[in-house]
């Protein structure tokens, strides 16, 4: 499944870049994070609770920055599992300056889901993904657009 979109953020590009590529900051916007373990600047492990329809699970995700071209492009590979289910996600992000105080983020994500979540929840996946994406971006916007960084 491929997801993509564009997000306008009322914050300078450098600030957006720093936030989105810092595991400790960006994961504060991920839903239901249980733990975070940063091993090096390119790798971190995050445990999140997520669900699709009737199937819920704790996903242990290994995340790796594949490409980091400050301040405009990043690619991330995330791979993780919950009992009976597995997910792999390759995401790309491109940041451009609309002006000094506005950044446009174009993003896309190629998601492969295996196992129980895929079997039971395939037709619910889009809705679940939209919900998570909305929450994530609303949070990112709120945090980045605040007058004082929060």
């Amino acid at each position: 499944m491929r997801f993509e979109g564009t997000l306008d953020i009322a914050a300078p590009r450098d600030r957006v870049w720093s936030f989105l590529t810092d595991p400790t900051q960006v994961t504060t916007c991920a839903p239901d994070v249980q733990s975070l373990d940063v091993s090096d600047p390119h790798h971190f492990k995050v445990v999140v609770r997520a669900g699709v329809g009737p199937i819920k699970g704790t996903f242990s995700m290994n995340v790796q920055f594949l490409e980091l071209e400050r301040p405009k492009h990043a690619a991330v590979l995330a791979r993780g599992q919950a009992p009976g289910s597995a997910v792999q996600m390759v995401s790309n992000m491109d940041l451009s300056e609309f002006d000094d105080t506005h950044t446009v983020m174009e993003w896309s994500s190629e998601v492969t889901v295996s196992g129980m979540i895929q079997q039971v929840g395939a037709r619910l996946m889009q809705g679940a993904a939209d919900k998570i994406t909305q929450q994530l971006f609303a949070c990112i916007k709120t945090k980045l657009e605040a007058s004082v960084p929060i």
Partner: protein, 783 residues
């Protein structure tokens, strides 16, 4: 008199129903033993992946979890692989690679079922996903992802099997006036018996005796398999007892050995406690043996007038990751070569190639005798394609071509000797009963108004009752079956058989055979199956073999008893045995009806006053090796209406005329046909298990896999003709599967018939509203 006895031909009420309708059946999950532990299985989310590591520490830390078993633990016991019934092998648990989604990866043993499930959830497996191949045709292409690295042969080809006269068939096609060709996919489906599979294994460490209660259709064969697989661990066949208690549906899915069985036995031997393993619904559909999955290309050569001449069939069979089908050893594609059906093809040639894919293993016969449904569907669909091609009524085309009743015993060009048949009589009865001519008129009138109505016929021939020992074995064990009868002094009888009922009504029908042969009331005859410590050895119940094989054994064992009883009767009547005849269920002095003895009187004498020099008692056992298979047949006609808005197919009428030879219990036969028709409706319109490109199962639960219920099922109209089998002791042929085999083609033919004037020639089953609506839109007739 006959009614009192309840012999052959009587609709005796099913003796087993007294407990079933009161909820007093005894299924595997009802078995509870002191100190019993529970086993649950962790399964792979990936269809193909390398296992980098398995971390069991968190699972083992859960209070109540006693053990976690992985593939590596099984290596020292040489139990990580087990043989399949098809000369292949199958992983019990993987040591490094998983080959299909929902494959067993580790097992947890715990004090309670829910704790075992918690343990499964806590197991952490690090997988590295590998490329996946789910399409068997792609799997056979060069460079395809290799499914089985463990084999010496480094491709996905399992076997090639062919039968018939290739050169002669090719020549017939070259010379033919008309050739039709059709690709047909028979999709992967699942038996979905209402009771899932399970086992309670109980190993007595002191006596070295293993007792297992399990859902198996073939308890004796399973006992031998356990002894062969685990003999090196000290499990010896005389100390293995397999008990199949009541079974909630088998349909072929409870013939194979699944890893869960091996794990439950292993866990009991390891812990010394009884261990219970019961699958949940999703595990059952996702990991247990599937059925069908045949990609068929079929060609038929005929004269312009419709005379059928030759048949050529090429098939790719998807067997998943292991060839764990349950076919007789000599027939890797089962009895698929019954594909010439009810027609006298002078030349025919059939070839099948088996392929490995990253899908669950199997290829079992789902309520059909080893790939017979695939064969019957193909030929009956192809006949309709020919009818369309030469613009001939499909009923007329069939009538023109049927093997005539005078030609039996008839040897087909693929080598089977059909025992008996009268195909025209069955089709004519079905046509009369449904009002075929009137329906064709109605169809023409409706078509003129733009309404979509279709009439479909299926005149199938089955091949059941495997089988004669010269052709049939499983793991080398010949496919005979057995019956042991003991008549007690009070004239009551105990009958034990090597087969195992899963709902077929054996406790009634086999009692009726004995009642007929011995003149004892059916209520005085107890039938017991499924306990290997007490029942004689047999190969079990599947492929409609119980009546053709064990039914033969029952009749012959009873006749052995009657022979001895006659000598005792002569002794009691002070007459020569030559002057004694068996008449009206009694022994009479010929011409003197007043001088007679009942079987009860003889039975008492067998223990109290038997002739000097004769052994006491009245018992017999027979191991029956049938001289041939039996060939039940039938003609089904289906009428459908199609909704031009939704694409929904509604079965308006369905007439099923079956001929299964001598009928033992008409009520049970009718019930078998009703169930079979519903299981034939299912793949025709609803059921399919699909996989996406990553090997994710689409349809691994009852939300996505539609089993027809009373809501979807039409009113079945049944009728019969009776053409006894000439070689069977009571003339019976077997009927458990006829309707499953015959129904799908009738329904598919009806749908295609409804759309034929739009240029539609074939639609692959299941014919879902989505598929039909797509066609209606393409043809510009959707509402």
């Amino acid at each position: 008199m006959a009614v009192e006895i309840g012999g052959i031909g009587q609709s005796v009420k099913r003796k087993e129903d007294a407990r079933f309708i009161r909820g007093r059946g005894n299924y595997v999950d009802d078995v509870k033993l002191p100190g019993m532990l529970y086993l649950d299985i962790a399964r792979s989310p990936y269809a193909h992946a390398r296992i980098k590591s398995i971390d069991t520490s968190k699972a083992l830390a859960i209070p109540g979890v006693l053990a976690v078993i992985t593939g590596k633990d099984l290596v020292p016991l040489k139990l990580e692989w087990m043989p399949t019934l098809m000369s292949d092998r199958q992983m019990v648990l993987p040591t490094d690679t998983v080959l299909y989604q929902a494959q067993e990866v580790a097992a947890v043993v715990a004090t309670e079922r829910y704790i075992a499930a918690d343990g499964v959830a806590a197991i952490e497996v690090d997988y590295e996903p590998l490329p996946v191949v789910v399409d068997p045709i792609k799997a056979l292409q060069p460079g395809a992802t290799l499914v089985r690295e463990d084999r010496e042969q480094k491709d996905n080809h399992i076997w090639h099997w062919e039968v018939g006269d290739k050169a002669g068939t090719d020549k017939a096609f070259k010379d033919a006036e008309v050739v039709v060709k059709q690709d047909i996919y028979i999709p992967r489906i699942h038996v979905s018996s209402i009771e899932t599979c399970g086992m309670v294994a109980s190993f007595d460490k002191i006596n070295g005796k293993l007792t297992v209660w399990m859902t198996t259709q073939a308890p004796h064969a399973i006992r031998t398999v356990i002894a062969l697989v685990a003999g090196h661990l000290g499990l010896s066949e005389e100390r293995i007892r397999v008990i199949s208690p009541d079974i909630g549906g088998g349909f072929g899915g409870k013939v194979p050995v699944y890893p869960g069985y091996v794990l439950a036995i292993g866990a009991s031997v390891l812990t010394g406690h009884p261990v219970k393993w019961i699958e949940d619904r999703s595990e059952n559909i996702q990991a247990d043996s599937f059925a069908r999955d045949y990609h068929i290309t079929a060609e038929l050569a005929a004269k312009k007038d419709g005379t059928m001449q030759a048949l050529r069939v090429k098939t790719v069979a998807d067997h998943g990751a292991f060839d764990a089908a349950a076919n007789p050893s000599k027939y890797p594609a089962g009895l698929f070569h019954i594909i010439t059906g009810s027609y006298p093809f002078a030349k025919s040639f059939v070839e099948v190639d088996g392929a490995y894919t990253n899908k669950p293993p199997g290829g079992i016969a789902y309520r059909c005798s080893f790939r017979v449904t695939e064969a019957a569907f193909t030929i009956e669909r192809l006949v309709d394609v020919l009818a369309l091609e030469i613009k001939k009524d499909p009923a007329e085309l069939r009538m023109q071509n049927f093997i005539p009743p005078t030609a039996f015993p008839y040897t087909s060009s693929l080598g089977w000797e059909y025992d008996s048949g009268d195909y025209g009589r069955a089709l004519k009865l079905a046509m009369d009963k449904i009002g075929y001519a009137e329906l064709r008129k109605e169809q023409a009138a409706k078509r003129a108004k733009g309404e979509l109505m279709g009439i479909g016929i299926s005149s199938f021939t089955e091949i059941v009752g495997a089988g004669p020992s010269k052709h049939f074995d499983i793991l080398g064990i010949k496919m005979f079956d057995s019956c042991e009868i003991r008549v007690h002094p009070t004239g009551k009888a105990m009958v034990r058989l090597g087969v195992k009922s899963q709902g077929q009504g054996h406790e009634t029908t086999f009692a009726q055979i004995v009642a007929e042969e011995l003149g004892l009331p059916v209520g005085d005859i107890a039938v017991e199956e499924g306990d290997t410590d007490t029942a004689p050895y047999g190969l079990g119940t599947y492929a409609s073999r119980s009546t053709p094989v064990a039914g033969g054994a029952t009749a012959i064992a009873a006749r052995k008893i009657r022979e001895k009883a006659k000598l005792i009767a002569a002794h009691l009547l002070e007459a020569s045995p030559d002057d004694i005849e068996w008449k009206d269920y009694k022994f009479q002095v010929k011409g003197v009806p007043a001088k007679s003895k009942t079987m009860q009187e003889v039975a008492f004498a067998a223990y109290t006053n038997h002739p000097q020099g004769m052994e006491a008692g009245l018992e017999a056992v027979d191991y029956y090796d049938p001289p041939n298979l039996t060939f039940p047949f039938g003609s089904y006609i289906c009428v459908v209406d199609i909704d031009r808005g939704t694409g929904e197919v509604k079965v308006r009428r369905f007439v099923a005329v079956d001929d299964c030879g001598t009928i033992i219990n008409p009520m049970i036969v009718e019930g078998q046909i009703h169930g079979g028709l519903t299981m034939g409706l299912a793949p025709a319109l609803y059921e399919q298990i699909n996989y996406d490109d990553d090997g994710n199962i689409q349809g691994g639960n009852f939300m996505d896999y539609l089993l027809p219920t009373a809501m979807e099922t039409p009113n079945w109209e049944t009728a019969k003709t009776t053409t006894p089998s000439p070689h069977h002791p009571i003339g019976a042929k077997g009927v458990g599967e006829s309707a499953t085999v015959g129904a799908p083609a009738a329904i598919a033919n009806a749908v295609v018939d409804a759309l034929a004037h739009l240029g539609v020639r074939h639609i692959d089953i299941p014919i879902t509203p989505w598929k039909v609506q797509k066609i209606l839109k393409e043809k510009g007739v959707a509402e």
